[in-house]
Amino acid sequence: MKYYPTIGIECHVQLSTKTKLFSEVDNDARGKEPNSCVSPVCYALPGMLPRLNGEAIKYAIRAGRAMNCEINAQSRFDRKHYFYPDSPKGYQITQFYHPIIGAGYVELPSGTKIRIEHAHLEGDAGKLTHFDNYSLVDLNRVDTPLIEIVSMPDIHSAKDAHDYCKELWRLMRYAKVTYGDLYNGNMRFDVNVSLAPEGSDKLGTRAEVKNLNSFRSVERAVEYEIARQTKILEAGEKVVQETRGWSDATGKTTGQRSKEEAKDYRYMPEPDLPPINLSRQFINDESAKLSMMPSDYREKFGQTIPTDILEILLDYPELMETMNGIDEKHVTMIANLFTSVLLAEEKSAEYLNDLPDTKKLNDLAEMNEKKELSSTATKEVFLSLFDPQMKGRDTKTIAKELGLIQENDLGALEAIVDAVLKKPETKKAQDDFRNGEEKVIGFLVGQVMKESKGKANPSAVQQILRDKLK
């Protein structure tokens, strides 16, 4: 029997607001000491009151709109109770009954649409580090604002699972709501996988793989689960509904024994936080701050930039924004320079923080088109545009300083050609060419290039030589 996989994904996105969701304490704990970004609210001291960060609401609106979701005017917070040392409150403040973000969809590069069930705001938990006979708790991450995005079970392959997670990552960065640093857990994925006989209208029993933090591990975990569950079903056995952990090292998921009671969260409305009731105007104002999304760029550049190059560029919102200012006739060339030169550069991450303005890039493309710069020289000048020491200078000045401008002035070129033809060592080559030995033209062009210190435009030189040797 053939089995058809169905996959649903929950994604947690850490928001990059300045302060935490429920107190005015630093939300950016990168490179900071453990427990240095904490407040009495994070510690859940008796009498503490959570104070909602209004910016997180705005971030949620942008994130929701980036996924084509309805924004719910009315939303509320609830308490989700569980006992674990990563949460001094003994509960997580989340939005269980009335989430701020309603239904929507994410369109994958392939055109497949994955529906979003809803997304909600909640506070993150602390971080535990486990040792042999004790664990250490760092509360820096407590109450970092999160958006949990819940997809509909619309995903049916490991590749689509990968593409969906990657597209979410892009959307959240284009919406400017997260640093999107996967390595540091800014986005984490929980993946539900179930298998049903092909053609069946009922879903099979699902297993959930928790806490994946790369697109690749999402893809591999789904592949593994499909294979594991197929084997179980083919043997006539039953898949157990459970939470499983993934190991990148072994490439396997393993069952995590969890107590049955763990699912009993005893949700209740959060009495310390009044409900949110947003006006249409407030929602519209925030939505209007969204700039172009990946799908808009695909529409705009789909005909000019080859798909594989465009999909690489789309990982870098800052590059796409720059592409918007490139003259249409130069778009392909600049896109190529970005992917094949800039991104291949060791310092590319640094360079991406401070891109040259579009005029300099347009000038560069223009010079290349006019053959003032060879293709090698174009790449060199292009990289120099990112060099902090070259910053204040325009493209032409940089090209001149590097001595890379090609000699196109026909008069000047002719003079150089004449000088070369007068040299006795070129005499034989000239005779050979006149006698029909076509390939010696290369030698002569080379001599002229040498004489011009590489600045002559080779095709112009060849034309002049041919005219003169007739």
Binding site: K18, T19, E24, E33, E55, S135, L136, L278
Partner: protein, 95 residues
Amino acid sequence: MEVNCETIKHLAQLSNFSMSDKQAEKLTGDLKNIINYISELDKLDTDGIEPTYQVFEMENVWRDDEILPQDADREQLLALTKEEKDHQIKVPKVL
């Protein structure tokens, strides 16, 4: 709602409380009485009435996204924990 010793023990376990059978029995009786008392409300017809989430009728209470000094610093907060190590809170091994 049925309240028995099992319910109480289940709740205690969820909250990581240790509880003797005797304590559980006493609490079962107390809680039964309380729920019985509140159950009077079940006689009212609440169909079509919006649940009361809070009684102050406030909404949209939020603050600006600006870092402010807190009432307690790291050392003061860590001093409240039973045991600390490397500026972290030391707890019995979990997992």
